[in-house]
Symmetry: C2
Subunit: 333 residues, 2 copies
Amino acid sequence: MSKVTVFGAGAWGSTMAQVLSDAGNEVLLWGRSESVISEISTAHTNVKYLGSHILPDDIIATTSLDDAFAFSQMYVLAIPAQEIRATLEDWKARFPSDCTIVSTLKGIEIATQMRMTEVIEDVLGAHKIAIITGPNLADELVLRQPAGAVAAATSQVLADQIRELFRTPYYRVYTSTDVMGCELAGAIKSVIALAVGLSIGMGFGENTQAMLITRGLNEVARLCAAHGSDPLSAAGLAGMGDLVASCGSPLSRNRTFGEVIGRTGSMSAARAQMVKTVEGVASSSAVLEIAHRVGIEVPVIEAVADIVSEKLTPEAALQRLMEITTKAENFIR
Amino acid sequence: MSKVTVFGAGAWGSTMAQVLSDAGNEVLLWGRSESVISEISTAHTNVKYLGSHILPDDIIATTSLDDAFAFSQMYVLAIPAQEIRATLEDWKARFPSDCTIVSTLKGIEIATQMRMTEVIEDVLGAHKIAIITGPNLADELVLRQPAGAVAAATSQVLADQIRELFRTPYYRVYTSTDVMGCELAGAIKSVIALAVGLSIGMGFGENTQAMLITRGLNEVARLCAAHGSDPLSAAGLAGMGDLVASCGSPLSRNRTFGEVIGRTGSMSAARAQMVKTVEGVASSSAVLEIAHRVGIEVPVIEAVADIVSEKLTPEAALQRLMEITTKAENFIR
């Protein structure tokens, strides 16, 4: 039994805290909001994010950073991707040098095109850093529905340790030493999910979606390979798995946003319907730049980038995509 | 412009004939049913299989095998998988030695555990044999919705030729020289789609489906590798693509059959609701045997085989699946 601190008491942080508690750990959940934290402590609910769901009553909840950092040296981050740098800058002095940091965040920092673990290292310096990722929609995982995930760290020993920390009878955790590939796949999936939404909005069915998913993941694999990471991470739970779950969920913001553009042909109509950040919109041009930096072609990702920057209509983008010469279907080429 | 004969005037054969006509070929469509063929010839419809859809009026339709074999030396087979051996035995003497045969069939011959091109060679001897496969639901492809496919032949020259034969602005055809991998992936996908249906019937959501799809394809990849074919075919349009389309379609017989078993826990309830052959039921034990022959573990496929043979309840099979020790997430291990 380990002690673990989870930072972030939204739907995702609360769900991770429950998984870790179910896995037999002592868990402290830190959150900013006095009302959310006091509700978790007393009623064991988090109505704002998880409705009437009852969390394990042995989860300790606090708004005190002193208590959170003192509780353990195993820190699980469940904070929004675009806020992570500023948050870590604030907390920098609190991290002990031999602590372990687990990122559960998916995304690219737009301003720098850095992956989440790169941002963490950039701010905090070298630490034991791991990630956990995969097809894990919070609203299903919190109901303890069977799910799979990948614990990745450059050291196999650390990856194994994170697997043991998280695994429960309903949460199958595999390991990987390809942190970069798993993070790239997890970030790019939001762009591909947006492309799938576009095709649904344009009135197309399963064939078109399946083509975009498969060829989109082929682009992820080639992008991973060009960066020296394992192209097969794209075919695993962090890539294919996560993308399939996102595309299947009508709750996915990326898919929904794409559907509105596809149906109306209009970015402003889509923006008007969506108040929250849509990761696939924000990161499509960053991902395109990451790809162009290493000189590889990513036609599906480029189509999304050109549509969200209003350079091309969805129809024109699809036509361009269909006109590209097909060659051998190498997963890496 | 080439001359092509398509054998089989059901939904799939008629759709393939339209694609080939749209691609600029002269097409003859052969079918057994006088009424279907005469309707295609006169009204250019195939109401029984394609509703009110109008087929290109330059498709020639016939019930005459003499005319069909004389029309071209490029034969596209769109006949049900379990009927192919008996049909080819009947027609054996009609195939010229230098004809080209394109299989569009997905499945394993249950009695022999042979792939479709193996059956073709077994009956007809060595020929130029290719396949075309991928996420191609007939009802969407016939509407000319954008789709991708793989033309596979052991010779790259033949694969390229088949790609040219089929490609149209809405049908992107890639090539592969891994016939075995593409056929295995296309056949096994029905078993995995049944597993996905089971999980939906049991009340689980996207996380569970995504885990079964990803780990199921991992099994396909390892099975391909153990047979000396390319494990990456599982990650391409023939594998991942086709599986995603099947799992997304509420019309998929495999998914629907699995849903009924998952919901009722009863094979007889599922059998009562389904009059047509369910490929995933028929082939799960054949696929399991193919896997065991080369000594590899395929827990998702084995779960389906044990459920459809009523050795295990869906609950017990899922529990067994979740208890298996997780290791490194190698796509091939």
